[in-house]
């Protein structure tokens, strides 16, 4: 799987994660506010990173930090959906926990001079 295929698949994952709740909200004529559009952007980023990491399954499936990152990203997307359906922006603060975790992993791996961010 080359770089273009990985990017295409990740973008497709992000689009699917972002558009599923949007289609639901529009179909059932629920109110759509700025909070909902913000959630769509957050869900796109979450879905993109989730698919990007999930495509590396063969390399990292034995690492605890990798499995935890995937699980946290799923929880993050779920929190984003909660914020979109109930129009509560603070749900996105919970959703950001997974991103912060992945950024911390990357920073720690960089500081230790490791080749990949999934240290354990």
């Amino acid at each position: 799987m080359n770089f273009a295929e990985v990017v295409l698949l990740s973008a497709a994952g992000g689009v699917i994660a972002a558009l599923a709740p949007l289609i639901y909200l529009f179909y059932y004529t629920r109110p759509v506010t700025f909070t909902v559009w913000t959630g769509a952007v957050a869900a796109f980023i979450g879905g993109f990173i989730f698919t990007l990491l999930a495509l590396q399954w063969g390399l990292f499936y034995a690492r605890f930090t990798y499995i935890l990152a995937l699980a946290l990203l799923l929880v993050s997307i779920a929190y984003t959906y909660w914020g979109m359906f109930r129009r509560r922006w603070f749900a996105y603060l919970f959703a950001a926990a997974a991103w912060i975790y992945i950024i911390l992993l990357a920073v720690v791996a960089r500081a230790l001079g490791l080749g990949d961010p999934f240290i354990i």
């Binding site: 698949l9 973008a11 289609i23 004529t29």
Partner: protein
Amino acid sequence: MNWVALLVGVAAGMAVAFGRVYAERLVARYFGLVPPLLFKHRDVVVPFLVLATAANVYAIWITVAYGGIAAWRLSALIGLALTAAAQLVQLHIALRPTNRDLQLALISCTPYVYLFALYVAALATGRYSLWLF
């Protein structure tokens, strides 16, 4: 089985379906009504747009990847043209919601019938290629 074509097709189909519900909301707001009153068959049309666009993307991948276009087979060219026409009709369904949605959706299924007929004919005649003529 090409997962890239399948997932990209589903994402494109969801984009088309989102365009449909967005257009429904705009039209309904213009007439001061709710969409379910105005569009009776939206429960069929919205999932149809997702599946049909995914099928179109996959059909184009089949036509291009298995050498039909490279060999200039007429059957492959017809398949590609039918798929492109179906995609145009489905975009019209999505962006201009009317009361003829179901008829247009039925008409836009011709490439799938055509490709399935090619598949059955290739199986029946024992040919190794989908592009029979």
